[in-house]
């Protein structure tokens, strides 16, 4: 049976893992390569490295960091942040990534999704969507770019559909409203996107407890769920989390 994936996310800035609350208030959490290995060893199903400053500072992705992190990683590894062209994506794959996550660049030029997909396969392209809806219903939720700094006027569900049509392999949906709050994922918004597309949806933003994961896999209809801060400071690790999820009836990769 296909299991629900637990994705450990490393937000990287200037070569260090950081974690913000609602996209600001950055705290240092360690070396990306070391943390990637630690997460994999602790049972994470997948590792995501996001260079959270790449877009607005117009830097390329930190290929050296990617290379070091990928060196002994034998679980799927996604890299995002600052990938603007198919050539830049190729360099990221070359450094050892299995998938790239594109966000601002896909909004600016949606053809990029298909361009990367045609060389590396749709499964290698994740379209990341940063969403904000405040206290409104999921319907008017709006897409933000540039690390959550810039509203686009685009609707989240609509953009997810277009990304799929253009050849995205997965959607990584981050709720800016719940990000870093540890008060649970935005299950309503996740379900709205998951129901609108055929491709897998990775829910992100708000992980604080095993119950939050169980909720987003159930009510939220997510295929995978991502967390960063919950793991970095030893709150829990993936294996402990999965054991709890299994008891709650969620199908997970155990033993791992």
């Amino acid at each position: 049976m296909l299991t629900k994936r637990i994705v450990a996310c490393l937000d990287v800035r200037d070569g260090r893992v950081v974690k913000g609350v609602q996209f600001v208030d950055i705290i240092d959490a360690g070396d990306p390569a070391e943390l990637a290995h630690r997460h994999a060893a602790a049972g994470a199903d997948e590792i995501v490295l996001l260079d959270i400053t790449a877009t607005h500072e117009r830097r390329g992705t930190l290929l050296d960091t990617v290379k070091r992190a990928a060196a002994k990683l034998f679980v799927p590894f996604t890299v995002g942040g600052g990938v603007r062209t198919a050539d830049e994506a190729a360099a990221v794959f070359d450094a050892g990534a299995d998938k790239v996550s594109i966000n601002s660049a896909a909004i600016a030029r949606p053809e990029l999704i298909g361009e990367i997909g045609s060389s590396f396969g749709a499964q290698a392209v994740i379209v990341a969507i940063d969403a904000r809806r405040g206290d409104q219903s999921p319907d008017p939720a709006e897409v933000y770019i540039a690390g959550g700094r810039k509203p686009t006027g685009r609707k989240v569900v609509e953009w997810a559909r277009e990304a799929e049509q253009r050849g995205a392999g997965e959607i990584l949906l981050t709720s800016m409203d719940t990000d870093g709050m540890r008060s649970g994922f935005d299950c309503e918004l996740t379900a709205a996107v998951s129901e609108a597309v055929q491709i897998p949806v990775i829910a992100s933003g708000g992980a604080g407890s095993a119950q939050h994961f169980a909720d987003v896999f159930g009510r939220g209809k997510a295929d995978a769920a991502l967390a960063a801060s919950i793991f970095h400071f030893g709150v829990t690790d993936s294996r402990v989390l999965k054991a709890e999820l299994q008891r709650a009836g969620v199908s997970v990769r155990l033993p791992c």
Partner: protein, 203 residues
């Protein structure tokens, strides 16, 4: 020497990295039929579109693989590399596979048992009905989890070494003599995946 065939379909880095991690010194990433003929073992990775396997034919690699396999040398196809061992795929109907195994690869159905089925099939799923005589899956038990990411799949046949269930059973591993393939990514399947590669290296 192990030849890892580069046919410009995605990313070979991970496969090569895993083989080296397991102690293989002599890995050559190549597009040359001569290298394939000279190699003691051949690996055909592949993440991408079936269409890209057309290059194997165009560069004379198909023939080289056929000769290597006929000489009894171990061959491992990964993902699209497994699919290529069959007659072809509906993903690129005009491109022939190796035709080592019968029938064609097909897309996952949009619906299964009345419910919508998401595609691609992405994530960790379990190996089931592992054939006891499989050399590739030696030491691995039913229920072991491996990582998949694909939208097309090979049907189950007598050569199937393990199945996985998603929209019905499909071939997760195929093996007849020295010719083997896995639909999952052993280089991305943690310890179980490394065990598969170790088994292949020890043949």
């Amino acid at each position: 020497m192990i030849a890892v065939i580069d046919y410009k379909a995605g990313n070979l880095t991970s496969v090569v990295k895993a083989l080296r991690h397991l102690g293989t010194k002599d890995v050559v990433v190549t597009q040359s039929p001569a290298d394939v003929r000279a190699a003691g073992k051949v690996v055909l990775p592949g993440v991408g579109h079936f269409q890209s396997t057309q290059l194997l034919q165009d560069l004379g690699l198909t023939q080289a693989v056929r000769e290597s396999a006929a000489a009894g040398k171990p061959f491992l196809g990964i993902c699209v590399g497994l699919q290529w061992l069959y007659e072809g795929s509906t993903e690129a109907p005009e491109t022939d596979g190796l035709c080592h195994f019968a029938s064609k690869c097909e897309r996952f159905p949009a619906k299964f048992n009345g419910a919508e089925l998401k595609s691609p099939h992405v994530g960790w799923n379990s190996l089931e009905q592992i054939r006891p005589d499989s050399r590739l899956l030696h030491g691995i038990s039913d229920g072991a989890f491996v990582y998949f990411t694909h939208s097309w799949r090979a049907p189950v046949s007598a050569d199937t070494a393990a199945v996985t269930n998603y929209g019905g059973a499909f071939t997760a591993a195929v093996e007849r003599g020295n010719v083997m393939g896995v639909q999952f990514h052993p280089e991305k399947s943690a310890e179980i995946g490394l065990q598969v590669l170790r088994n292949f290296l020890e043949l």
